[in-house]
Symmetry: C2
Subunit: 350 residues, 2 copies
């Protein structure tokens, strides 16, 4: 007897089984573009919200209810993982700042090993509360930052422009880089594993900054660690591996989940969906790939572009609709609704 | 009787003729990483330097002499073109700022048409002075910003993060977008044409911000205008079409110069050189593609990576060595020298 969410549209699409229509959820679906969310945030800072499982779960449940999306995602942040590793994160208006960044290769010694994800119990409690409040027909997605993206935050000290420090670190001290990425891979993997144990049905690994790298650097310095993180997720659990910023990385990014039963590759708008499938092979599911900036345009354009993505996915099993990156704060809510309605009205793959 | 520069290594490589070794120059070769350049800049602001043909030519000639690169490039800036179009540019420490940005589609009416590149006579005078001071065996490269990149600067008002305003403009008012890009294409094309008439042997069109777009947007909203700019360059003159940030755009970017005798595609480090050639076909020359961040690493890494790029180019005619983007200000001069020596010591394609 499987719980109903195991047969949800999104879980079936993740397993490349037939679905009546394409499922959709949105990265940053609970975010600043929503007036309800802004109202919550006026009352408390972002970090406090993440650390309050009742409120964090509530924000996501209200969003799912309002938008009628096909999945909830844990309300949390990539950088919560850095605190138990010994770093202090401040959410400043211009973006997060690491108060004690990792500047010298020797600093790697002070990165703690996350032995037990229970150190992030408030995250797991948010998973439990979201799962217990969520419609039993909908799945809950857990997530963590990928080792490279976490390393880039730690080394740059916050919002990143040219990745200069990160690459310089990587080219200068391979030993320190490997030690750092190994620690981050195990931390991310253990957190994902614990989220699954706490009630998440699938998980997404976010490599949001990796597009600054070329293929060799990715293969040599990143791929082994993303693979290590993904390998800690229970084998039956579908994993969404999200990268953005460089379509040439799609093939190696797919290798990070090679051998898994259910791998979904996150794809951004820089490449046509049909070209992405041609590149990685049709046996891998894809999540994507509308440009979030399309939602700043007029409704006709939102509808036209959404239908174009559906047309490119044309009947293939294993398509989860999403944006190629998070919803932009300036996005009109009506356009988000229109996008979701357009996807849900589509006939999708059968 | 051709002047000697017509038979320079770089011009031969640009025409895909045999060369004894791979030619090299660097984007931003005269830049803040050089102590001599910083000394000049301490005496005057960037805008004043660009507007002083004697000093601007002098800066480039001294750089070519010091680095022993295989070409000079006009010392100027992408944004000088915006002034005669009616915009005020301020070079602030955080990057250039457009004082009167283009915010509403109606604003396009106030963009002037550049009827005659003589309005930028100081740029053409810099071309003449650089050419007359340069070794007759070396070519001089002219350049201009591509229509999309210029539009993005105008609309965002300066240094760009998420290209939100630009895309929103593009999705909202096609008529205004087309009018704007047309005006920018003619301005860029006329400037390039005038640079050739003033003494440049080849020209580069810089589309430095275009990597934020997907393939459909590029084809529909950008490619026709880049093609229009390139078409104004005299037919015998080689054109380097530089884009960065999205390898999926290489094929359409090559189309912007389809039918030209000599087209060189600028390629960044996000894709392997051999994959780039496979994508665009071997009848197009390539300029690239070392990651500028490699020059922040140790000398062994600089040498190893440089040799790897040469190995990938392996004997193909039509390779000009360059970085995938400009030299970073923090780059040690010795690493730049080592890169150039490594390329010039290589046997290259014969």
């Amino acid at each position: 007897m499987h719980p109903p969410w195991q047969n949800s549209l999104l879980m079936r699409a993740a397993r490349r089984e037939p679905v009546e229509r394409t499922p959709i959820w949105l990265m940053r679906q609970a975010g600043r573009y929503l007036p309800e969310y802004r109202a919550v945030r006026q009352k408390m800072p972002f970090a406090a919200l993440c650390k309050n499982p009742d409120l964090a779960a509530g924000v996501m449940l209200a969003t799912v209810d309002r938008l009628k999306v096909d999945a909830a995602i844990l309300f949390s942040d990539l950088l919560v993982l850095l605190e138990p590793l010994g770093f202090e994160v401040e959410y400043a208006p211009g973006g997060p700042v690491i108060k004690n960044p990792l500047r010298m290769p020797d600093d790697v010694d002070r990165v703690r090993e996350l032995e037990d994800a229970a150190e992030l119990d408030y995250v797991l409690e948010t998973v439990r509360k979201t799962r217990s409040g969520l419609d039993a027909g909908l799945p809950l997605i857990g997530f963590a930052g990928a080792p490279f993206t976490l390393a880039a935050y730690l080394i740059e000290g916050g919002v990143i422009r040219d990745y200069r420090r990160t690459k310089s670190f990587l080219y200068t001290d391979r030993g320190a880089w490997d030690a750092l990425l190994g620690r981050l891979a195990r931390a991310a993997g253990r957190l994902l594993e614990a989220q699954v144990a706490s009630g998440a049905q699938l998980v997404q690994l976010f490599d949001s900054w990796v597009g600054c790298l070329g293929v060799e650097d990715y293969r040599e310095h990143v791929l082994p660690y993303s693979r290590e993180a993904i390998a800690l997720v229970p084998p039956e659990t579908p994993v969404i591996h999200f990268t953005t910023g460089n379509p040439a990385l799609l093939s190696p990014a797919a290798e990070a989940g090679r051998g898994r039963k259910h791998l979904i590759l996150g794809v951004d708008w820089r490449i046509r969906l049909e070209d992405a499938w041609r590149t990685i092979g049709h046996e891998t599911a894809i999540q994507g790939n509308l440009d979030p900036a399309v939602l700043l345009g007029p409704p006709e354009e939102v509808r036209r572009r959404t239908e174009d993505v559906l047309r490119q996915a044309a009947g293939r099993p294993g398509h989860i609709f999403n944006l190629g990156h998070g919803v932009l704060p300036q996005t009109p809510v009506e356009n988000v609704r229109l996008l979701i309605e357009t996807v849900q009205a589509g006939t999708g793959p059968g």
